[in-house]
């Protein structure tokens, strides 16, 4: 009975999700919202205090190609300046306030580029977050009031976030709290779906029933011709009109999808237990799932197991119509592949912000060359690649068969525009790329802008990097749809060198006994001059290999 009600409201909700294709655990889907659709898996544009870091909306955002499909913002950044009351006074939600009309918005509990939790202890009633204005204690009521004022298309329930090394007892507490807060958020979600206007906050004296209508004049002043949300604070009316309440489905969160936070820290068993609790109850109103507590200090190789523990505890039926969002798992491209391989549909994106801030342009190829096959031995990282013959493939940053030029700070995925080697380079950031920056400007210009600390450098790099990441996800979706996602992952990983971890050190005595060099290979960066002479030397040393055959490991230093 509960199940069918849930399914029914799912079908009539303004935001809904369906899977179109599968390949293993990976899946392609369509997330439909009032503000547009998202083809999943997808990466959401990172925003800070509601806006992209460098790209102005709507003009520069519109230049991104493939286009930005959705936006991620952090609820916690709207606790103050502005807060829920100001947003509610505005009345038209985040899409209009932030000039993000036409984009689905996911309001998450975390900013993927910072870690807001753990500065001070949380309680059973409130979680502590550190934001731009300092520390705040956030209860489900305060959280949901802010969410309601934002009117996003999807939002994550309040979660007691813990780092990956939290002890079992702390993890158990976080599971208990998060479950209780999920119930509170579900109740509040229901309330906000069915009431028009007033958002109750702790400080308000007015009675919460009935509520005051939002004064259309106040919000109306900023109502502009181009705004899709303009004209009516109840434009989002389609929601759950089936439950007979007089102002049914007209509330600020009508049609918004609640994503239940799945927690459990870095402990596989706990993650399974936490997820099972949500699934077993199969609570009405849970519209999707949010994997929390990742990108919180766990080792990369643990991630597949942690994600699988959470999602594996959910029934296939539960997952069928519910999108899965993961936060904080976007520090590397492999992270994103891992997430997709485990069944994640939506991700936030710290990666673009971080590479852009470092002065990098992403240059990795997006599709395997025609006829590429995984090598017989899957553990051979030194696969020689053919030059991609098709002109539709983006070119490699360097000639095939040679590694990236580490002496200028490049690696397999990106080039470093700070390098003086680009001073006179009239070519685009990435040959063949059709983004705004590559169509209109040269590497030499971007290099100059970085050198002179001009904002435009970041604007152009963000335009390019956002485009490239979107193209990456598009290629991933193609691979899933065509049933070759596993091969795609193998190919992508084969392009990469081993991670930037020094090989495990054997004791000096053991090293001497096996005839290895007495010093392990250094991994600290050097000056450019040392690098140019030393890089080939180091690479050569390692390739010759130390006896004792660590042939799969190639420790080399690069700037990241």
């Amino acid at each position: 009975m509960l199940m069918s009600l849930a399914a029914h409201s799912m079908a009539t909700a303004a935001t809904h999700f369906s899977v179109k294709a599968r390949d293993g655990k990976a899946r392609c889907g369509i997330l439909s919202t009032r503000n547009g659709s998202v083809e999943t898996p997808a990466v959401l544009l990172y925003t800070r205090r509601g806006g992209p870091l460098n790209l102005t909306s709507p003009d520069m955002l519109a230049t991104v190609t493939p286009p930005v499909q959705g936006i991620q913002l952090s609820v916690m950044q709207f606790l103050e300046n502005p807060d829920a009351r100001i947003l509610q006074e505005y009345g038209q939600g985040a899409h209009s306030f932030l000039c993000l009309e036409g984009f689905p918005i996911l309001a998450s509990n975390r900013d993927p580029t910072t870690y807001e939790y753990g500065m001070r202890p949380s309680t059973d009633k409130e979680v502590h977050v550190s934001i731009h204005s300092g520390g705040h204690m956030v209860s489900p009521e305060r959280y949901m009031a802010t969410v309601a004022a934002l009117k996003p298309d999807l939002f994550v329930s309040l979660c007691d976030e813990v780092p990956a090394d939290a002890k079992a007892k702390r993890v158990a507490t976080s599971i208990k709290r998060t479950a209780a807060w999920l119930d509170a958020c579900l109740q509040l979600h229901s309330t906000y779906q069915n009431r028009s206007g007033q958002v109750p906050t702790g400080e308000q004296e007015q009675s919460t029933e009935g509520g005051r209508e939002v004064d259309p004049q106040r919000g109306g002043d900023s109502c502009n011709a181009g705004s899709a949300a303009c004209g009516s604070s109840n434009a989002d009316g389609s929601g759950s009109a089936n439950n007979g309440s007089s102002s049914a489905g007209q509330g600020p969160l009508a049609g918004s999808l609640l994503l239940a936070a799945l927690t459990g820290g870095g402990l596989v068993m706990e993650r399974a237990r936490a997820a099972a609790a949500v699934a077993v109850a199969d609570k009405e109103g849970v519209g999707g799932y949010a994997l929390c507590g990742l990108g919180a200090g766990e080792a990369p190789e643990q991630r597949p197991a942690l994600i699988a523990a959470s999602l594996g505890a959910l029934s296939p039926v539960s997952l069928e119509r519910r999108p899965v969002f993961v936060s904080g798992l976007s520090a590397s491209l492999e992270d994103m592949l891992t997430a997709v391989a485990e069944g994640v549909d939506l991700m936030d994106c710290a990666f673009v912000a971080q590479v852009t801030a470092g002065g990098y342009a992403l240059t990795f190829p997006l599709r395997p060359p025609k006829g590429w096959r995984p090598p017989a031995s899957a553990a051979a990282p030194q696969q020689e690649q053919e030059a991609p013959p098709s002109s539709s493939l983006l070119g490699l940053a360097v000639a095939p068969g040679r590694g990236p030029d580490v002496s200028i700070g490049a690696d397999d995925t990106k080039v470093n525009l700070w390098s003086t080697s680009y001073r006179l380079d009239k070519g685009p950031l990435l040959p063949g790329c059709s983004c705004f920056a590559c169509r209109r400007h040269s590497r030499a210009y971007v290099h100059h802008l970085l050198n002179t600390h001009e904002m435009l450098a970041d604007v152009l790099l963000e335009a390019h990097n956002t485009s490239h990441i979107n193209a990456f996800l598009q290629a991933i979706r193609e691979a899933i749809t065509e049933g070759r996602f596993e091969e795609y992952c193998l190919w992508f990983r084969s392009l990469r060198s081993a991670p930037l971890v020094a090989p495990p050190r054997r004791s000096a005595a053991k090293r001497r006994a096996s005839g290895e060099p007495s010093e392990p290979i250094e991994s600290e960066p050097r000056t450019v001059e040392e690098t140019i002479s030393g890089a080939t030397e180091v690479a050569g040393q390692v390739e010759r290999g130390s006896s004792g055959a660590r042939e799969h490991q190639q420790a080399k230093w690069v700037c990241v």
């Binding site: 806006g51 992209p52 900023s222 001009e454």
Partner: protein, 445 residues
């Protein structure tokens, strides 16, 4: 005495006589409408035909603080500036030349102007000294002694390739209390213009403008103008202002210079960016302005609006859902509220700073567009009155503006001004039948 060609300026309406114009090797200037001393003109440069009066945003180091060249085009900027000193420092004029010139390097298809580099050196560097040879200074890289000569300044600008290049002038801050120094600078500027002309290797592709100096001394100013005009340059700048001088002194120098320079050639008042100053100088017959002010003040959270400025960080804006300027139709004013920008401007989020910059650039372009249209439609005095009324709703138009408008033959009757004065009254304006060139206060004929 002045020895210049005398063009009689005629009102655009009614008379069949030609409006002033000039034809230089790389620049054609054509006044298309006149009203009083103000004029609306077309300046055809190698890369673009600009409409004046115009405001030129400054792209100091090869970009206008965060804005793309496409945005600048969309906002209808006609000419932008590059700073020679900064660009020679990084990336170097040689590199820019290898890249095909500044236009190609930054991908800006319209007009470009570079300054001489002298002013920046004097204002930015320790121990910068001006001698007959040039400007000596300490290299910012390693502190070694360096010298910028007129020849080198022109050579650098030739490599950068802008449509308009500026002569190296001996600029003395107007606050200096040293008449002998002003006299020396006036004569030296003339000697240097000859060196600049001799060094200029691309006269068919780049226009060398001279810069009128002379401080606040009307005699020196006249002398400087006379000597520059005798060189028959494609255009003239009025320099040595936008320092610490009083507004009263400022407008009088501008007025004298616009009156004394040939009407058929463009007049460029350097370092002007406050909207009020742009309006006053346009009324007095100036054509071109540049300043970092609109773009710089944006990054400090200050938006230009018809009433003056809007300080976004002010707490009153936290709940103000109106756009920055309800009368502005730029992307930012159509889509964003003060309340949103209040929280994010000056917080290290570049996109927010760029949004305010975008509006401020749009504002200055709209301002000069309105000035041109008002002159062409012969309703410029009315437009000025309306502008001043909006900016000074209590009627407290500053005395210097009233005096300047009087000299520009623009009555402020009915704009509510004249009820309060901050300066002693100026001499009564001369009758309008006289050629405007003689109406300039202090001009010696």
């Amino acid at each position: 005495m002045i020895g210049r060609k005398f063009h009689r300026v005629i009102m655009a309406s009614g008379s069949g006589q030609a409006l002033p114009s000039s034809d230089s090797p790389a620049l054609k200037f054509k006044v298309v409408a006149v009203q009083g001393r103000a004029r609306s003109s077309r300046m055809t440069l190698p890369h673009f035909t600009a409409h004046t009066p115009m405001f030129m945003p400054v792209g100091t180091q090869g970009s206008v603080k965060g804005m793309t060249t496409r945005q600048l085009e969309e906002l209808d900027c006609h000419v932008i500036l590059g700073n020679t000193y900064h660009l020679e420092n990084r990336p170097g004029s040689g590199l820019v030349a290898e890249m095909g010139g500044l236009h190609d390097f930054i991908n800006w298809p319209r007009g470009m102007l570079t300054d001489s580099g002298g002013f920046q050196m004097v204002s930015l560097l320790h121990l910068a000294e001006i001698t007959e040879e040039g400007v000596t200074f300490q290299s910012p890289v390693d502190g070694s002694a360096m010298l910028l000569t007129p020849e080198q300044s022109i050579a650098i600008q030739n490599r950068l390739g802008a449509d308009i290049i500026m002569a190296l002038d001996d600029v003395v801050p107007t606050t200096a209390n040293n008449p002998a120094r002003f006299e020396e600078a006036t004569h030296r500027t003339t000697r240097w213009i000859d060196r600049c002309i001799a060094a200029h290797s691309r006269p068919l592709e780049q226009n060398l403008f001279g810069i009128v100096q002379g401080g606040l001394d009307t005699g020196l100013r006249d002398l400087s103008m006379q000597q520059l005009v005798a060189r028959d340059l494609p255009g003239y700048a009025i320099g040595g202002l936008a320092g610490g001088e009083s507004k009263d002194d400022f407008w009088r120098v501008v007025s004298q210079c616009t009156a004394g320079l040939p009407p058929g050639k463009p007049r460029y008042v350097m370092g002007i960016g406050y909207p009020l100053d742009i309006v006053v100088c346009s009324a007095l017959g100036a054509d071109m302005f540049d300043s970092v002010y609109p773009t710089r003040t944006a990054r400090f959270g200050v938006a230009l609006v018809p009433e003056g400025v809007l300080k976004l960080k002010n707490a009153a804006n936290a709940r103000d859902f109106r756009p920055l300027d309800p009368s502005c139709s730029c992307m930012v004013c159509r889509r964003y509220s003060r309340a949103y920008l209040h929280n994010v401007v000056t917080r290290g989020i570049s996109a927010a700073a760029i949004l305010v910059t975008y509006h401020n650039v749009a504002y200055t372009q709209r301002l000069t567009r309105e000035i041109r249209t008002a002159i062409e439609e012969q309703r410029f005095p009315e437009w000025v009155r309306s502008f001043l009324q909006t900016m000074f709703p209590k009627g407290d138009v500053p005395g210097w503006v009233q005096d300047a408008m009087a000299a520009a033959d623009i009555s402020l009757e009915g704009s509510g001004s004249g009820t309060t004065r901050t300066n002693p009254p100026a001499p009564a304006p001369l009758p309008t039948e006289q050629p405007p060139v003689l109406a300039a206060v202090g001009a010696s004929v």
